[in-house]
């Protein structure tokens, strides 16, 4: 059984310049204890996807179609109080900017204890401050922060970006969600810290067995900790498959281009190939396949018609090159 099942999802923003369709007929699922990497450039709708799963879309956005089934519950038609109940314990989302992720005027300990308190309330457990504090300290140790007692007594601005991201992961562990959504959790961090945080997430996934949906623009980050990878372009799925499959033999021209644009360590001779063109205008998207203006293999049919999803053995691709 899958933790998250998205069918035919459409999300639209209304702006002064018109309606912007950020997610266009998107379908996929995330299995139990599975990790899915969602890859795409900025504006591809990947962050919107994360927010729509936990019902935190900004006020000018709306669900325009499709369904999101999270742990057996339909999210798009939930009331606000029902949505509150799924947040945290069913799905927990962590955000990109570590400097803004913790409340600047409250101590770290207060914010973590709040999480335990909310969890206890939802699961009907009794909340006991001493027990909760012990649990918080333990989880802080779990995310490999030495001197938990010291960190807990600090304000967020006294911590480094890496430390804050770990504190937030600790918060996620305290909430014990079935699905953890991480929106660019490492983009704002130094490369070395990035690697540490990724390793931590990898370890925790194994230890706690939670499903992870990792949203990133960096396909190599996704490869590091994902079982499967989904590539998005202009609000649409373009390729979905096992991490190894997508990385080693990408099928869609956009996925190919993404992988070709990764600098590959010591191989200095390998040509770096940037993707030509610029991201599409989302209010008046290109006709047919949205990638066609930038596609090196463009055909006549690409300009006229939208490609359908084709695939087998869990590999999905949307391109006229493949049937």
């Amino acid at each position: 059984m899958s933790v998250l099942e998205v069918r035919d999802l459409v999300v639209e923003y209304s702006t002064v310049y018109g309606v912007l369709r950020a997610i266009n007929h998107l379908s996929f699922e995330v299995g139990e204890a599975e990790s899915l990497g969602v890859v795409g450039e900025s504006g591809s709708g990947k962050s919107t996807l994360g927010l729509s799963v936990v019902r935190l879309l900004p006020p000018n956005a709306r669900y325009a179609g499709g369904s999101i089934v999270l742990d057996g519950q339909e999210v798009t038609r939930m009331s606000n109080s029902e949505a509150r109940r799924i947040r945290g314990t069913t799905a927990f989302m962590i955000f990109q900017d570590p400097l803004n992720s913790l409340n600047p005027v409250k101590k770290v300990s207060t914010q973590l204890l709040e999480a335990v308190e909310m969890r206890c309330k939802k699961l009907g457990e009794t909340y006991d401050v001493e027990k909760a504090t012990r649990e918080v300290v333990e989880k802080i140790r779990d995310v490999r922060i030495p001197d938990p007692e010291l960190i807990l007594e600090r304000y967020p601005h006294q911590l480094s970006g890496g430390q804050i991201q770990r504190v937030i992961i600790a918060m996620a562990l305290l909430m014990r969600p079935k699905l953890l959504i991480a929106d660019e959790p490492t983009s704002a961090l130094d490369v070395t810290i990035q690697a540490q945080v990724l390793k931590l997430m990898n370890d925790l996934k194994k230890e706690y067995g939670m499903s992870i949906m990792l949203i990133t623009h960096d396909i190599s980050v996704a490869y590091n900790i994902s079982d499967r990878i989904m590539v998005m372009y202009a609000g649409e799925l373009v390729e979905l498959g096992s991490a190894d499959g997508v990385i080693r033999s990408p099928m869609h021209p956009y996925a190919k281009a993404l992988i070709a644009s990764i600098p590959r360590g010591v191989m200095r001779d390998a040509p770096l190939e940037p993707i030509r063109g610029s991201p599409p205008n989302m209010i008046h998207p290109p006709s047919g396949c949205r990638f066609h203006p930038r596609c090196p293999f463009v055909m006549d049919v690409c300009r006229r018609e939208e490609p359908r999803e084709v695939g087998q053995d869990g590999r999905v691709v949307r391109c006229f090159l493949y049937g």
């Binding site: 923003y13 002064v16 310049y17 912007l20 205008n281 008046h284 006709s287």
Partner: protein, 330 residues
């Protein structure tokens, strides 16, 4: 290159801050900027369009009436100043003393009369050019002085900048109205001394505004590039810093016209500025104070007129700031 291209290039080059890209299929990217950008948006918004219409009317009337008054004054035919008005604004007519607002003799009594029997409507219309002149003159002088002082301080930095910041701090420490009272009283009562003291207290805000702009612009790519290409500082300031700082100031200035009218009217209310028998919106309101509340219209109607004009300026400024703040863009 045709005129159209030149204009297009010019418009496209300016306005780095409030721009929006509107792309339609099969159409070239169109960039709106500067006043075009604002105007386009304001006309589309109904409330803002009404406000813009009222302001245009107020300004146009002020130009016409102000010209007549000036020509009348210069040629010693003062009656020219009230040629267009329903009645003579400074003629005593005690038979009509304290006439409440009514439709008889339309439109003379529509806003009632004061103790001397002068039509409030005529007096309001007669006083309008002075308010308009004060608003536009003070804000534009403030912008020009502030632009010169602020841009140079921000661009060159150093001790000049430090001194400027301290001086503006000191100016801004005092409520504008209090300093304006002190200055106008010291300068001696009259319209000119009010204008001078308003300009004196108005520039520091703009100086800080332009200084901040210059500070952020001077490290931007296109300024660095001009420096490297050997342009001198003056050219850089004229070509790049000034044009790029003006856009965000426009929105603030629109709101600020209203602020000037408020301060100017409050000074007039306190008896500073134009002296009797000539009418002034603020002083009309305070002259009615002893007759309040029995003859409420005398005090309240001029206040309402001031409020209407100021609300319109505020609305336009507010909408422009929404645009700049990006709350309406994406």
């Amino acid at each position: 290159m045709g005129v159209k291209e030149i204009v297009k290039k010019f418009l496209g080059y300016r306005g780095t801050i409030p721009t929006a890209t509107v792309v339609k299929e099969g159409e070239e990217e169109r960039r709106l900027s500067g006043y075009r950008f604002y105007l386009d948006y304001l006309i589309k918004d109904k409330v803002a369009a009404v406000a813009l219409a009222i302001i245009t009317l107020f300004t146009a009337w002020s130009v016409v009436e102000g010209t007549l008054q000036y020509v009348g004054y210069a040629t010693r035919h003062r009656a020219l100043g009230w040629a267009l008005l329903p009645s003579n604004p400074i003629a005593l007519n005690f038979a009509a003393s304290l006439h409440p607002p009514s439709l008889s003799h339309f439109p003379v009594y529509i806003f009632g009369t004061n103790f001397s029997g002068e039509s409030i409507l005529s007096r309001l219309l007669y006083a309008a050019p002075k308010d308009a002149l004060a608003a536009y003159l003070v804000v534009f002088s403030g912008i020009i002085i502030g632009m010169l002082v602020g841009t140079f301080a921000g661009y060159f930095g150093g001790w000049a900048d430090e001194v400027l910041m301290r001086v503006t701090d000191a100016f801004l420490a005092l409520p504008g109205l209090v300093l304006a009272i002190a200055l106008s009283v010291l300068l001696g009562s009259g319209y000119n001394s009010v204008l001078i003291s308003l300009i004196l207290i108005w520039w520091p805000t703009y100086a800080r505004f332009f200084r901040a702009q210059a500070l952020s612009l001077k490290s931007r790519g296109f300024v660095e590039a001009s420096k490297l290409s050997g342009q001198n500082s003056l050219m850089i300031i004229l070509r790049h810093i000034f044009p790029n700082s003006v856009d965000p100031v426009i929105a603030y200035a629109a709101l600020d016209f209203g602020n000037v009218i408020l301060t100017y009217s409050t000074l007039a209310f306190l008896g500073i500025g134009i002296q009797p028998p000539y009418p002034e919106w603020g002083s009309m309101s305070s002259n009615g104070l002893p007759y309040f509340p029995q003859n409420w219209w005398w005090s309240i109607i001029p206040g309402l007129v001031i409020m209407t004009v100021v609300v319109c300026f505020t609305l336009i400024g507010d909408r422009m700031q929404d645009l700049i703040g990006g709350r309406l863009t994406y």
